[in-house]
Each structure stands twice: as structure tokens, then as C-alpha cells.
Symmetry: C2
Subunit: 359 residues, 2 copies
Amino acid sequence: MNVPSLHLTQGTATFAQDEPFQLESGSSLSPIDIRFAVYGELNAAGDNVVLVCHALSGSAEAHEWWPELFAPGAVFSSDRWCVVCANILGSCYGSTGPTSVNPATGAPFGDSFPLVTIGDIVRSQALLLDHLGISRLHAVLGASIGGMQALEWAIRFPSRVERCIAIAATPLSSLGLALNHIQRRAIALHPDLGLRLARELAMSTYKSAELFNERHARNPNRSGEPPWASPTGRFDIAGYLDYQGEIFSRRFDPDTYTAITRAMDLWDPARDPGDVVYENIRARTTLVGISSDWLFPASDVRALAQTLTARGVDCSYREIESAHGHDAFLAEPHHANQLLGEILETSEGASRSRPSVGR
Amino acid sequence: MNVPSLHLTQGTATFAQDEPFQLESGSSLSPIDIRFAVYGELNAAGDNVVLVCHALSGSAEAHEWWPELFAPGAVFSSDRWCVVCANILGSCYGSTGPTSVNPATGAPFGDSFPLVTIGDIVRSQALLLDHLGISRLHAVLGASIGGMQALEWAIRFPSRVERCIAIAATPLSSLGLALNHIQRRAIALHPDLGLRLARELAMSTYKSAELFNERHARNPNRSGEPPWASPTGRFDIAGYLDYQGEIFSRRFDPDTYTAITRAMDLWDPARDPGDVVYENIRARTTLVGISSDWLFPASDVRALAQTLTARGVDCSYREIESAHGHDAFLAEPHHANQLLGEILETSEGASRSRPSVGR
């Protein structure tokens, strides 16, 4: 999609040069680069910033992976918002990650890159916002692990976040953990071919059974031999997945995939029964489920919204009706566009002034 | 489980020594061995035979993989039935398959084993029954690809089959095809380690998200490091799957896995719109869905039952309520035991004498 006349500033900021950036795992990184993109300008009141958090394979260039939201008339098309997006720590699109050179060895980190968490990612984004002179967020939002980051922002920096919108994000279910584990095992078997396989499995989890039946059914491969003709013959769905795996392996890095899926697995703010982190949230929060998502089922998103509400958070639940599964936030962006448009326009609500909730 | 005092006859019958066994793919095999087990005896009337068809990784020794059905008081415990089970063509438990020696080369077939279909498997079982002097089946039954075989029996040999019971079996959905394809790709990457990975993915599809959440949740590995402690740390579900993959790779063959999953993929009796194969069925047919099965969803099984009914088959639909997913036929065998007990006792019904249905 062509995105005309973006007011875009891009850059890479470097932090933790003197003092290492401490990771939750106990390791540290020094320095760290954070690649960022800013669309529009911070206004005088400093109250028009929307932080967009990207998902697994995204980048700081939000207009490239979510172009419809920057198109004329769409939610980010106006000058009103200053949209900030940063490539996450551990990624391979400009921020420090497994493909970066380890200063201690002079070679890329590769699979020795330390374990990073969603908390680490969010803290590094906070350094970036400080650097950019942004103290408050009109909203933080994202889908999938972008949604995990949005919630983590609301938990860690309650006074900086006015609205939090997390789409198709909850702590991963046991089946989700299983499927991520299998994907990393494939990469451990063979970096490049394993990454393709991981992507094929991931794509299967991003879409719905219904959509696959509708689009590919049991049809023979549209551009090759049918599965009954030879040992290399394929069904259409197999041809589709192989293609997806191939193009992904050209643009992504296996160790990065491992690092980010581990961060995704580990995200669980209230892991210990005594954890009261959700109670920290002061943002007006919206959790969004996708009706056909089986990786992050809508019922799990709804249950998380109920948990947040029970813990005193001003939280509402919305559901996107779509057959596209987890991928609907990218595949049917008009849902997200409409929903974000509505939420960004809302007044802040009463939540910021509510009394602190003890437990 | 201990199965006392089985009246068991085991053997291997060899066919197609003079004339090759023609496969639907156009290839042929000569000779073919079929490993079989017979529990009990054919009665004088020749009307007490129950053919049990095994699933992907099963064997002729039905009492080993379905022991609860042979336990005292269970459906196959009495002398009443003569239960026959044959290892399927293409398997690695005694019948001709990829691990067999190719007479043309003197070496195992390996990945050059020809494409076999569920139709080929069933035709080879018919040779075995002829050899054993069995002309009619009181019932043919199976789950998963065992259920595909049961239906294929009813289609191909309508006059030999009185009752057909297919549990959790339909032509595979597009998502199912995708997941089998990914499993074969893993094996192509590395035979042994890929087979483990394939099994890990398969186990994830055999169980339900609900069961995984209940059993493993987001718990750390019960017998090793937690996932937040080190790069090799795992969640409990990952430890479980790795163990399942490992024990499976010790007992199964990668090329066999590839061969059988391809047969599974291809099974679709009414592939061409003009196919009238379901109309052939004369057996009293019961299709059984499992409520939490997401590999062969109960809704798909129900839809197939409706199709069969619409085509004049005496077909009923039953549903097993279980959280165990596709695996429920093995994991909660009391459901299958009760259901089979009921159905085997039914009178034949009127279907065998119904007029032929044209389309």
C-alpha cells in the first residue's frame, strides 16, 4: 500500500554506554541501540504521543507493516498524533539483538544473545522516550507480543500511560508454549531450514482452520504437482506455507526468532500468586480478542479483562469478529483502525484518580 | 495393563508373490507381507468377526495399544467375537513398509517406498481376510486413520460389512493437511530428530488446549530447569513433549511416518464432485466425534454423518464428551468400550436391503 506524505523521522539511539543495561535474567548489555520511527510531531502540551509496539517479526517502520493505519483518512493519517514505534530489543531490524556484534568478542551474538523479557523491552523503550523528550503517552498499543508490551507499559509506568490497548494478547497458554517450543526446536535442528519450518507452523497458528478451509481446502497445489501425483506433490495449503517459510527466512534471523519467542513465552506479569502487578495499572485499558484466534483465544483475552477489572483496573473488553485468526490485526486492519480511532478519541475516564487498590 | 488369558493367534501372511499388488498410485509391490493378530475364533456361522483397524502408530497387536478393550468385562473380553487386526501396509510393525527390504535392490525401501493409500491398505486387508476364510464382517471399526479404513471398507466391500464404526475420522481439513506437511518437512530435515519434532507437533494436535492448560499450564519443567533460568530451561509442556518425541523415535521409523501421514492426507473418498462412493455403503454406520478434538473436529464428523445420511446411508452420529482431544479414544478408552459394546449388539437394521441409491 502506498502511504503518501508521511511526516517521518527515523533514527537509532544508543544507550547504556557507560553503565550496562541490566536484563531481568541477570545478564546485561552495553551498549544498546534502539531503532525508532516517529510519525508527526510532539505537540506543545506533550500529550499527543501514541506508542505503537510491534509484534514478533515487525520493525520500527510501522507504516510498512501496518500501512492501512497510515493511509489517507485512517487513524494515524492526521497530524494530530505523534506516533512512535521502536524496534524491540532482541530483534534484527536495527535494535540490539542476536545479529548485533558482541563488543566482548567482536563477533555477532548469535545464539549467545542473553535472554530478554518483555519487561526489558519496555524499559528500553522508556529510555528512548526519555531521549525523545516524551514523558506521557496518550496511548500505548499493540497486538500479539505488541499487546504484551502495551500491558507491560501500563504496569511498569502507570503514571506515563493514559490509554492501553492490547489486541490478542494474554500470557501464552500451554498449547501456545508447546508450539513455540517446537518452532525453536526446528531452528536448533537447522537454522535456515528450521526457521522456514518454524514460520510454517507459526503461520498455521496465526490463521484459523475456517480460513484455511475457505482459501485452500483440500485443493491441489495451484502452482505445482498435486499430492497424489508424486512424493513431492503438495496440497495447496502446503505450497502456501512453503512459500511463506521461504520468504520469511530471507528477511528474518533464526537466533532472533528464538530470542523473541522466548520473551513471548515468559511474559506473565502475575506469575506468582502473590503478584499484584495488575493493580498498578492506571491507564484506561482495552483488551481486544479476535473471535477466530486459537493461539490467543478470545475467551482467554476476555478472562484476562475480567481479572483486570476485578483488580480495580478500568478495563473493557472488545472483540473483533473475523475468520482470519490471530492474524486479523494485520489481515483485516480496518477492525483495528476503527477500534483505535474510537479509543484514542475517548476522554481519559476516571481511572487515573481512583484510589490505590490494596490486596 | 495386564490382559489375562487372551486367545491370541499371531502370524504374517504373504501375498502377491506371483502377481504384484497394484497400488492406486500406479506403482506395485511384490510380495507383500501382512502381519496379523486374531483374538478368539471364527464361529461356525462365520458371523462373529470384528475387524479392528489401527491408527498411525499402532500395530496388529490391538491388545497392546487398546488393552482396556480386552480387559475382563470389556467388549473384546468374551469368546463371542473373533477380533482381527492387521498391521497396515506401509507400517513398520511386520507388514511391508519402508523398513522392508526391496527385492529389487536388496536394501530397505526407505524413502523410495511407493505411495500407498487407505484404499490400498484396505484391499490388502481383504486379501488377509480371504486367506483366513473370513467372508463377512460383523463390524469393522477404528479411530483416526483406523476410522478412515473402516469407512473405506464399507465403501469398497459393501456386501462384506455389516456394521462400520469410525471414530474421529473425516477427510483431513486444510489445517490438518498443513500440520502433517510440517511434520514431514521436519523429517526431511533430519530423520531421527525430525521424527521427534513431528511427534511433538502431532501430540500437540492429539490433545486439547484445555487438557494442556489443566495438566501443564505454564508450570516450569517438573524434572529440570525452569524456562526463565537458562537457555535450555523449559516449561513443563516442553519437557513432556520432548519426552514423547524421544520415546517415539525409539519405536518408530521416519520413512514410515512419512508414508502413513501421506496416506492419511490423501484419504477423501468423494474427492471429485461426481464421486458417488458413499452411496455404496450398505453397513449400519456410526460416526463418532470427540468434543475437544481439533485435528478432526466433532463438527466435521457430524457434517460427514449428515452427508452420508443424505446419500442414503443408515448412518448415525455419536459424540464422546472428553477433554482429551483426538487422543480420547486411547486416553479414555471407557468411552469407546461402551459405545462399541452397544453397537456390536445392535441388530443389523434395514439398510442392507435398501434399494440401491442412484445419483
